[in-house]
């Protein structure tokens, strides 16, 4: 019968490899991000100046960055949500120059000079926007993930005057999906604000 043995050389090699792996700093992700940034060639980076919630930001970004990723990853405004990232769910809805739009289908570098409003910019002087208040009062959400997009879309729906009937509200809110099915509360919230 053949005897299974581990050679001295193999033992030393594997144990030293394991030891050296253990010495990789804890911030592997940060290190990886730094490397990634260094690898992206300068011609594929762009400087962009955008106004978000009335504050101007000038940033150097990878040209592939979507407005949604810029808001969440660079400006740490995580209210706007990444649902599908393909323009099918509306969770990333923001206002661009006062018009509702999908931040996941907008390139950050194309937002030069444009004014963006996110869910974080709705409340004024510590007071909730009437639509935010209405969502609270009418149970316009359950889990809350789609809610920032719903509220941004709902504010626009009222501004556009598309609140004539329940059917009209539903049609003009069809770009925002809610998997909990809080639609009745959402329609009620919009009717409440539209009636003011």
């Amino acid at each position: 019968m053949e005897k299974q043995t581990i050679s001295r050389r193999f033992f030393l090699f594997t144990s030293s490899m394991a030891a050296s792996l253990a010495f990789i700093p804890a911030g592997v992700k940060a290190f990886y991000n730094n490397v990634k940034r260094a690898i992206v060639r300068s011609k594929e980076k762009e400087t962009v100046s955008i106004i978000v919630n009335k504050q101007k930001h000038t940033l150097s970004v990878d040209s592939r960055t979507t407005l949604l990723d810029l808001l969440r990853e660079e400006l740490h405004l995580t209210g706007s949500k990444k649902g599908c990232d393909h323009g099918q769910c509306g969770a990333c809805t923001v206002h661009i120059d006062g018009q509702r739009a999908l931040s996941c289908l907008s390139l950050a570098v194309m937002m030069e000079g444009h004014e963006i409003t996110t869910i974080e910019g709705l409340a004024q002087d510590g007071k909730l926007h009437p639509m935010q208040q209405a969502f609270l009062e009418c149970d316009g959400f359950q889990c809350g993930y789609c809610t920032p997009g719903q509220i941004m879309s709902a504010v626009a729906c009222v501004n556009e005057g598309r609140t004539g009937s329940v059917a009209e509200i539903k049609e003009f809110m069809s770009g925002n999906l809610c998997r909990c099915g809080a639609y009745n509360g959402i329609v009620e919230s919009i009717q409440k604000v539209a009636a003011r």
């Binding site: 040209s63 018009q99 739009a101 289908l105 390139l107 194309m110």
Partner: protein, 326 residues
Amino acid sequence: MRPFTFQRIQSLDQASARKANDGHQCIAGGTNLLDLMKKNITVPEVLLDITKALPDQIETTAKGIRIGAMVRNSAAANHDLIRSKFPLVSKALLAGASPQIRNMASIGGNLLQRTRCPYFYDTTLPCNKRNPGTGCGAIDGENRMSAIVGYSTECVAVHPSDLCIALAALDANVIIRTTDKKETIIPFKDFHRLPGETPEQDNNLPVSGIITAVDIPSNQFFKNAAYVKLRDRESYAFALISVAAALELNGNKIVQARLASGGVAHKPWRWYEAEAFLKGKNATLETFQKAAAIVVKETKPLSNNAFKVPMLKGAVEVALQNCLNA
């Protein structure tokens, strides 16, 4: 998404000159393109932002109306002149996408959007449109959403736009700027292509061509026009079947009729035979039913989309009737 170089384009001449280069791709609204880039279906090396170079006005011309290529879909749909004189355009636009996407998408880009055939969108599957020579997965596969007319053995994909169905019905013209000529005009019926042997080509836009505007000639269809769209859910979905119908009436007599459909072919499809039948007839339900029967006579459904034929027949009848109550 693959890395690309981003360039802001200031003029139409600059746009067409650069677009003629390999790997250069224009972006305006980006609602379809960015999705395709995220899935590595479209992989530009250089992305040309032409939003500042394109016309963004709607203006009246001697022959009708001109819609600038950069006009957003929502702006066109809500424009007074379009709503009053070209309501079919407004109705078709509002039947498409969601309010957010309509606020972003440009008129020029709407003409250039690509099929939503699931085989085109999944890079692990064969598709002659995405990857010529790999075969058509849909023709004997999942073809519930596919064409029922005008397809080839190479491709059974359908054109996804609603706006284009209305523009086809109204005999619009596509205005194009190229490097060699100042302005090229392509009639709408000749702009999009049938798949034939080259399904990778959706349209006849020249290599250096930039769509600058869409012209719609004045017409008498504004009083009696309707757009019917049938889909898997009530809103925010691509058409299984859509019908744009428009009648010019003298009393109860049909002076001329226009009928076009989406969800049926690789390009916006005009039903010329049915239009010819309707001409000179009285606008009655019986006439409409006969026209619908002529329409479906042309169709040849695939293995999984025979349901579209009766759906189309009904949609044509309803659209023509809706013209009378528009």
